[in-house]
Symmetry: C2
């Protein structure tokens, strides 16, 4: 048991809980309370120090909030290593997640440049409803049967054709697994590698949800630097890893598209190193500039790529459907690992999607959405150039539903976000997605445009100009 003998002075004006917090924090920082040790229980400490449980609790909460300790179910509060903030999802959340992202419900903004929203006005409500109703009517068995483990065979065949045509992926239906979202897909993939070193290489920064899923499964993450044109392959080559998670077609959040030469080197390295590449192709449907580059999976002659796709961006996040394309060499392992699992997406939703694809609504939807997002994208670029011109630099604008903007006014991202907020505009801090630093690059903000109207895009960017460059604000 750790010994706690803080000098608590009730009369010095500093609240007792703050004094206690500062005492423990100091002891953690100077190593007196070592990493991995557990703090005494609230009850014990309150009795020992003769202060109220609430006081101890407040001090502990502050320690959690500042990332010194983390709560462990049933065991108590564990002291975390200093300067290694992504040990666990809990810690990651507390240290990395900007307050603004947690306040989802509390605050609404007139102009919200949120990433992840889709254009709601263009969604084919009636067609999708008709497909679902048709599924319900034509196939009463759907209402009673958990369905095939890997997913509806019709849906998998439609996906197989779609992936070949749109992403160059040449696979059979038996390589496809339908999942209920990207978190679920990642969890299933992680469980295929249940032995071995449990570490994954990831671009830094990278998709926060993927970080969390790996952390939640007890994996450690090896951060790999980004260069102008994507992941630093030389750094990757120096690292021992059997799994690399990457977003090559629109790096998340930076937005660069990995060039073909780098794709080939990456695949060659993976093959020599007997390593799997986990390709998250989350929003590759939407490209605005340059020649389309085939997915890694399309170039994957040696069967090293596990491909991940989702209907959340291309169709709707309400479907809760994503998919994996397994390499041939993992099919047996997959079948063994999940022999007595059921499919997790309701056959009703799957059959509805099958009908939607089979009747070619999906391809026309994608075509239509490409135009919608192309226009929004152009409006955004135009507004940025018109209002802030030389004072900004746009990054990662060739694809996807978001881009980054570097603001050349010597403000920190935190201040940029704060100033924008004052005028009712919400932009985001991309350092949220960093693996090991607080802010990799100051003055960078993330701007999503999927869910916001063209009119609001223009007005919102004008307000940002006021917030960041006019003297009034």
């Amino acid at each position: 048991m750790l010994e706690f003998i803080p000098l608590l002075d009730k009369n010095n004006g500093v609240p007792i809980y703050v004094q206690l917090f500062q005492y423990i924090k100091q002891k953690i920082e100077d190593g007196t309370i070592p990493e991995g040790s557990f703090l005494p229980s609230v009850r014990y400490l309150s009795a020992q120090l003769r202060i109220s449980k609430n006081t101890v609790d407040s001090a502990y909460q502050q320690l959690v909030a500042e990332g010194y300790v983390a709560s462990r179910a049933r065991i108590g509060l564990i002291v975390l290593p200093l300067e290694q903030p992504v040990l666990s999802s809990i810690l990651q959340e507390i240290k990395h997640k900007p307050k603004v992202l947690l306040d989802n419900k509390a605050e609404t903004f007139e102009y919200d440049f949120k990433y992840g929203d889709i254009d709601v006005n263009s969604f084919p409500h009636d067609i999708w409803k008709r497909c679902l109703t048709k599924a319900l009517t034509n196939e009463p068995d759907l209402l009673l049967n958990p369905g095939e483990r890997q997913g509806d065979i019709g849906l998998r065949r439609e996906l197989m054709n779609y992936l070949f045509q749109s992403r160059g992926v040449n696979c059979s239906e038996e390589q496809i697994v339908i999942c209920s979202g990207t978190q679920h897909a990642l969890s299933l993939i992680i469980q295929l590698f249940s032995i071995g070193d449990r570490s994954v290489a990831m671009e830094n920064p990278s998709y926060d949800v993927a970080q969390t899923v790996f952390n939640n499964h007890g994996w450690s993450i090896k951060p790999i630097r980004l260069e102008q044109d994507g992941i630093d392959i030389e750094q990757l080559q120096k690292i021992e890893t059997k799994v690399t998670y990457i977003t090559p077609s629109h790096q998340f959040p930076y937005g660069m598209v990995l060039p073909i030469q780098k794709r080939l080197s990456l695949l060659e390295w993976a093959n020599q190193n007997s390593s799997y590449i986990l390709e998250d192709d989350y929003d590759s449907e939407f490209r605005y500039q340059g020649q389309p580059i085939p997915s890694l999976k399309a170039l994957d002659e040696e069967d090293n790529v596990i491909y991940l796709g989702t209907f959340s961006k291309s169709f709707s996040p309400a479907a809760r459907v994503s998919y994996i394309v397994l390499p041939q060499n993992l099919i047996d392992v997959y079948n063994h690992t999940y022999v007595n699992y059921n499919q997790s997406v309701s056959p009703i939703i799957q059959k509805g999607l099958y009908i939607f694809m089979n009747e070619e609504h999906f391809t026309s939807h994608i075509r239509r959405m490409r135009k919608v997002y192309q226009k929004k994208h152009q409006t955004l670029i135009n507004a940025l150039n018109k209002y802030m011109g030389r004072h900004i630099e746009i990054i990662g604008q060739n694809a996807g539903l978001h881009l980054l903007v570097r603001i050349k006014n010597n403000m920190s991202t935190k201040d940029l976000v704060k100033k924008a907020k004052k005028l009712g505009v919400r932009v985001y801090d991309p350092s949220f997605y960093c693996l090991n630093e607080k802010e990799i690059e100051p003055s960078l903000v993330m701007i999503g445009f999927g869910g916001i109207s063209e009119e609001k895009i223009d007005k919102g960017i004008l307000l940002l100009q006021k917030a960041w460059f006019s003297n009034e604000s």
Copy 2:
């Protein structure tokens, strides 16, 4: 690298692959090839021994099939410890899963006493379709939004009321998490305990799917003996474990109902030991005899029980919806662990279920199904008594949708299953669910009755009498 110098004789009549298999098997059994080592690659060994890759592959496949080695993604075949067959889901599947369960698609039986099927004729197709259509029509937002992380608030409130009325569970909606099936629910729970010893205590035998999920997450399973009235609490008390998975209301597969005294001791032990009880209440809706016993969660004053329920038995496996009731003390950990996850069940399905419950179709459905299953249950018991009377013993018949029968004719379960199969009747081997032995009790068969008609129940049992007790067969 292991040295392989088998003497392979092409002329002795034994196929080369069998000779190679026997050689390696012998070396594993005598310890020359130790546990944890990897077999050489097929390519390497075929070159070294100058035999075809197919021959090596056949020998390896036989080693896998007999549980000496298991396949590991990218690494090759690992030698498994002898006599410890539940190290991994892969192994478990190969050693424990009766062939008959893997042949799901290949074979159909005229009389299939399968566990897990529901009565399809009583399913309220039209009402459920109407609820889904209503959800689609009334709430267009459902088509666009991933929904609340823990699940639709209306559905959670309905569940809260239902669980209170039917299972005595007193919880708030913030303790409820909607999941896409029991595997998914277990996976989410397991990830809450990402540090610590990663072991779980389980009744032996127990639900195979739960075993697999724990195995797939790298957990070890500590088997606990069953007594006549359920889990052996004394044995449990001797074991160090922070998580115990249990099916108290209808032990799977034995079917006993844990008596109230044992429930109280279990909870007391959990509390003293700071251990969580994972209560899987999978089919408690259907009880036929005796007073209903409150769920463990209903008795859980000290907040030690994590409750798991599913709509697969009480409603339909096609909904792909299950739910967790978290203890209060895990809500924060849950929120931290899954802060950036989405809900995995489509809001469309959730809202449909909400409407189904809110319009009280669910309670009347349960009431109706209770009668349907009660009748089937009675038909089954009557037929068993009528045709096999003194020669059998019925076990675990107080609740649920299956029971076990001990057949007193000195046949092994394997033979019983085989003889039944010859007459077109499928019964199941409960040793499939064992954690560490091939067959804990000979002459025991498992009989499910949810999905088979009363007429077929009677005829099927008559055929079983012929198969097992008449001299002809």
